[in-house]
Symmetry: C2
Subunit: 170 residues, 2 copies
């Protein structure tokens, strides 16, 4: 049974890094794998959406629907999406069969994300150039019962991938 591995967490928490590394590992094993990355999807399918609450709901909804199409084709899907609202993650899960949707909380402190600031967004936010920054001016609802909880402050990407693979193979 194929899966949807759904990485949720703040901007800069390491979702994309983990997603791409994990995808590469599964591809090496011959598993057809697809990364649905929030930043990429916003250049295509979701380019009409902004960062209001309703647009964030719609952003997550569409990604979940595409993930469902892919999983039905037996493709392993790895979603890397802030997806700040519990409701959206629950709705995403509801599209899949039991055990098919793996919610992975990529947990890094806001301070650490802001220090890394890979995309420069935290600096832009500090300078008042970005509204609706998740975790600062826009809420991030911490997953209460994620299937996997990765602490990327203390766990590197390679170890994170191992934890995910271990969970899935059980």
């Amino acid at each position: 049974m194929s899966k949807c591995i759904w990485l949720t967490g703040l901007s800069g928490s390491g979702k994309t890094t983990i997603a791409n590394l994990l995808a590469a590992q599964y591809k090496d094993k011959g598993q057809l794998t697809c990364v649905l990355d929030g930043d990429q999807i916003r250049l295509g399918l979701n380019k009409d959406l902004g960062f209001t609450r309703s647009d964030r709901h719609e952003n997550a909804r569409r990604v979940a629907e595409v993930a469902k199409i892919l999983v039905d084709l037996e493709i392993l899907v790895i979603v890397a999406l802030i997806s700040p609202f519990s409701e959206d993650r629950h709705k995403a899960r509801a599209l899949f069969q039991p055990g098919q949707f793996i919610e992975v909380y990529v947990d890094t402190s806001l301070k650490r994300c802001a220090t890394r600031d890979v995309k420069g967004l935290y600096t832009l936010q500090e300078n008042g150039l970005i509204k609706n920054m998740t975790g600062i001016t826009s809420p991030y609802e911490i997953p209460k019962n994620p299937d996997i909880h990765l602490r990327t402050d203390t766990t590197d990407a390679i170890e994170c991938c191992e934890l995910i693979k271990k969970h899935i193979s059980v």
Copy 2:
């Protein structure tokens, strides 16, 4: 190189029948294949959209973006979508590499579609229960230079599939 086979035509012209038959044939050959059917997509990804002009544009845009994701995974995609506007079909084509997007005009007379009336939509329209019926109260822009022109008034679904496969294998 994988392809996006894009079937456009009036409601009842035979798009879904051809798409499903063709997909079954490619699957039998071991080709990973996905049908993106307008009616199905409107139950999931595009369930927020109606039948206004702008919603029809958005409907086609999203289907094209999903098709692109799938084709990039080497999946053969068969789209069955009324997609009444030339502009949308051109934009869809523009997402793909040259030769990767095959526009197939599924050409059946409106009279024949209304006689078949597989989904009962033409009857509903006659009774004033449907607005924006393509080909009657909403425009259908006939493809000027489709890659393949199927005349389903005189060609059955099996023959249509042969014509598409012949075109692709050339």
